[in-house]
């Protein structure tokens, strides 16, 4: 079952072609890392997938349902209600967490469940308690985001995304705002999720992590997918540019 399909996605910002015809499909349980230099379009691809950005051209499907499709040469998005329904299939973890500072950890996690998804308060709380326990944050449920370390905040934002029980979870450079020590604690959480076969797409600069956790690594540059394959394939590729990039980041 294809959870996500993106077909021939194109996106430009003020004349600059950021995505040039990208196609990508994701099977249930797959963990995909997207690597590449900055400005390569990785984040934009994620933002198109999560509908934070509208594609100029291309198609976007979740579970075989169209969020956007081509009609003639125009990209037409599904009506608002339809899109809102498709929003339930995915979650997104941001680089700088974007927790709601005026809500406690508990409310950050449960508020959207209660006020958007209309889940009873009690059930929402139970879900949150369970997730916080899994992520080692049980004591922090009444804390406010400013009282937490960056790593804890990112784990809360992962819990917030997971609480909605998405089919697929996107990570947009989840550790780029963290120091090495805190990076480790967040990567541990993502690894644990991979073990449970959570479907994930992770934009990251952590090569070693990508190698360990991914079923497939995609190397993007200049708005196209230059190379993709299993971690083994990518780390042993003949492609000079990919070798150079990976070697550079892996510190070899």
């Amino acid at each position: 079952m294809k959870l996500l399909e993106m077909r021939h996605v194109k996106k430009e910002f003020e004349g600059l072609q950021v995505l040039k015809d990208i196609s990508l499909s994701v099977e249930e349980g797959e963990v995909i890392s997207i690597i590449g230099p900055s400005g390569s379009g990785k984040s934009t691809l994620l933002r198109c997938a999560t509908m934070l950005e509208e594609m100029d051209s291309g198609e976007l499907l979740y579970m075989g349902e169209y969020a956007a499709r081509m009609q003639g040469d125009k990209c037409v998005y599904a009506p608002k209600g339809e899109r809102k329904r498709l929003h339930r299939y995915f979650g997104l973890v941001f680089q700088n967490f974007n927790l709601f500072p005026h809500y406690s950890v508990m409310k950050n996690i449960t508020d959207s469940l209660v006020s958007v998804d209309k889940i009873p308060k009690k059930e929402a709380r139970e879900r949150a308690v369970k997730l916080l326990e899994q992520l080692g944050l049980s004591e922090k449920q009444d804390a406010y985001p400013y009282q937490l370390s960056g790593g804890q905040q990112q784990r809360v934002s992962i819990a917030r995304a997971l609480a909605r029980q998405p089919k697929i979870l996107f990570f947009d450079e989840p550790t780029s705002a963290l120091d090495p020590e805190l990076t480790v604690e967040v990567l541990k959480v993502i690894k644990a999720l991979a073990k449970e076969h959570m479907t994930m797409i992770i934009v990251t600069h952590e090569m070693q992590f990508a190698r360990e956790v991914s079923d497939r690594i995609i190397f993007m540059e200049e708005g196209i997918i230059k190379e993709q394959g299993t971690p083994k394939e990518l780390f042993e590729t003949e492609n000079e540019r990919v070798r150079e990039f990976i070697g550079h980041l892996a510190g070899k």
Binding site: L52, F94, P101, H102, S115, Y144
Partner: protein
């Protein structure tokens, strides 16, 4: 006797103050929305409105609102219109200032808050009222406090159209009894009112200080 008259004036001043806040705080929100609207006509209109309200004296605006109906439309103005004119002039003037404060607060919100809300499925109204507005209120409280304190003192401008508020009364008594005392007492009253305003606003700020 003097205190009684000043006290009556003070009640009128407080009425002007309260009613102005009651109307201008929400009206300012509407103006702010217009100012940030994607519709360029609406944006243009509100921009000009704010510009005029901030760029001309409030005293002049008071006179225009009060005498305008007569001078322009030859409508006979009744005595009871005086107080209404004061409230209209103050409300539309202060709405312009509040609108700019709201706008600065709303535009200072990081885009990530909107994006996080969108991904979690919040609708536009929910995002605004649950996520954005509470944080905006915290951010703009100091600026709003400033404006409210100015309003307390500005109520004395109603003197320009002979509304019998505290300052008008003080000046009348001072002239009649050739003493400066009523003006001093009025000054003390304004000061005490503003102490109260400052105290209330400080409590509000404290109530919002549980997060950063």
């Amino acid at each position: 006797m003097m205190l009684l008259q000043l006290g009556k004036g003070m009640i009128v001043s407080i009425e002007i103050f309260m009613l102005t806040l009651l109307f201008s705080l929400p009206l300012g929100m509407l103006v702010a929305f217009g100012r940030m609207s994607r519709n360029c006509v609406l944006r243009g209109i509100t921009k000009v409105y704010i510009s005029i309200m901030r760029g001309t004296p409030l005293m002049l605006q008071l006179l225009v609102v009060y005498f305008g109906p007569y001078y322009v439309f030859k409508i006979r103005i009744s005595n009871s219109y005086r107080f209404i004119a004061v409230i209209i002039a103050f409300a539309i003037n202060y709405a312009a200032y509040f609108a700019e404060i709201y706008r600065s607060g709303i535009e200072s919100m990081p885009i990530g808050q909107y994006e996080a809300a969108k991904v979690l499925g919040y609708g536009k109204a929910q995002t605004f009222f649950k996520i954005i507005l509470p944080q905006v209120i915290k951010r703009i409280l100091p600026a709003v406090t400033n404006e409210i304190i100015t309003l307390v003192k500005d109520t004395s401008l109603a003197f320009a159209i002979a509304q019998a508020e505290m300052f008008t009364m003080a000046k009348q008594i001072a002239a009649a009894q050739t003493t400066i005392l009523p003006l001093m007492v009025a000054g003390v009253f304004y000061y005490i009112l503003n102490l109260a305003v400052a105290a209330v606003m400080e409590r509000l700020e404290k109530a919002c200080s549980y997060y950063r």
